[in-house]
Subunit: 253 residues, 2 copies
DNA sequence: CGAATAGTGTCTTTCAGACAATATATT
DNA sequence: AATATATTGTCTGAAAGACACTATTCG
């Protein structure tokens, strides 16, 4: 199929980060203002190139998480690969997008060398009449990341990653409401969560911020899987991940 | 963070394919025997390097699908990225793994230039006492691909990709039974499938191979999402995808 | 006490799972 | 007729969703 002198082309490998958190009961994503071309001055997802040829991909993602957001030890998982030939004017750049979930944090992000980093409501970027435009194909990456987070709330314990070490059941409910954009009945949610085996375990009582009866504290349980799953009653006919596939690389290990 | 002369490293980009199909009511994967080093003579997933710098990743996957398996127009979706620094002795090779689903096909794969391609029961590769060893990290890629297929049967219409243009409900049931490795009640399955809105639509009657009442024919419906979802009653406490994340590349678009 | 949140109990509907019964084909 | 598969119907238990009600805090 190819002649003997053919050599495979090489590409630049990057990582991009969709870092989500909850602020004011709304889902926010961390954006940075680009200081260099291309797209200088535009907002973009944090990310960057592999540091050296021996750096593992996840290691690069965690390095960027620390360098650009000052965040450590967070939940991190892969979203997918974005490598369309024309997506970056600097050449063939293939980016591995990652989803990171941050617990509630103090407003200013400490230790960030990108001073321009700021939390932005996801809605302001993804809504049809969005007023925030992102560089590259980062709007799609964000959309895919949010979709993945929404889907995983259904049958994994991902929601606890949005909370601190300990949390109340109503805090957990706020996570579902913010990420899914729905309202849930607190009483049914309470029973549902407790019936999910291994999802949460008790961790002592607490008093609430303002008024009302104090709530019990819990921490994340051992189960990664969530059974029975949390179900979004009315499926919002959105497209399911897959159908648009990715592409690349033969004979490789 | 880096000095002015720093240049990002480049990597070789590959695609690998987990091509699944049903044969004798068992899940099979297409393997090829490697003709060159490394791992010469060992079995591996079909795949290869990007053909040229301008080739899209999905295009490369479809090209390999045609070249190595003689397959066209199949369901194709991304599994993930495998780029551990030491995974390929030839250097830093990052592979984008894809999942392809093939409908029932005649035994020999026509038009394949890799004559060594053969369908192998997935169980023979993944069972703890497996007698088929794969090159590189292809065993893990296969495991991840099969997990992804299993998960997607629950809430998408992926199962129809295993069938031909038209199919009977019992054929669809065989897909679930083979991929999940469980036995399902035909009567409950029948009602369940028909209650899923937009999953399948009628396509005229047929007669069955041997004996028994002829079954109605259906074809895939418009829905990609499956609601209500098919549920695997007893969650086999397997690890949920995620938790082990991927890594790489900053400042990239 | 009144307001607000936490937590429990109950009822109705929906759906999964078991399984009887009927329908329509082949040999 | 015997056998085999397709399709429908019925019943039971688990769980979702609606919602009344009790418990415990603060001001």
């Amino acid at each position: 199929m190819t002649d003997d002198r053919w050599q495979p082309p090489s590409v630049l490998l990057a990582v991009d980060l969709v870092i989500l958190t909850l602020r004011d009961a709304r889902l926010h994503v961390l954006l940075v203002e680009r200081g260099v071309e291309p797209y200088q001055g535009a907002f973009a997802l944090p990310g960057g190139f592999l540091h050296d040829e021996g750096e593992a991909i996840e290691a690069a993602a965690r390095r960027e998480l620390a360098e650009e957001a000052g965040l450590f030890d967070m939940h991190l998982e892969m979203i997918g690969v974005y490598g369309e030939p024309g997506r970056d004017p600097r050449g063939r750049v293939v980016s591995v997008a990652h989803l990171a979930i941050a617990p509630r944090l103090p407003d200013p992000i400490a230790g960030t060398d990108a001073v321009s980093a700021c939390w932005t409501p996801v809605e302001d970027v993804l809504s049809t009449s969005a007023h925030v435009r992102l560089a590259f194909d980062h709007r799609r990456i964000l959309a895919d990341g949010v979709d993945q987070a929404r889907a995983k709330l259904e049958h994994t314990s991902l929601a606890t990653a949005f909370c601190g070490e300990t949390f109340t059941i109503s805090e957990l409910q706020q996570v579902y409401e913010a990420v899914w954009g729905v309202r849930l009945d607190p009483r049914n949610f309470y029973r549902k969560i407790q019936s999910a085996r291994g999802f949460i375990v008790a961790a002592g009582p607490m008093r609430h911020a303002q008024n009302g009866r104090p709530a019990r504290l819990f921490k994340a349980g051992p189960s990664q899987a969530l059974y029975p799953p949390m179900v979004r009653s009315a499926q919002t006919g959105h497209d399911v991940r897959g159908g648009h596939a990715a592409e690349v690389a033969p004979e490789g290990g």
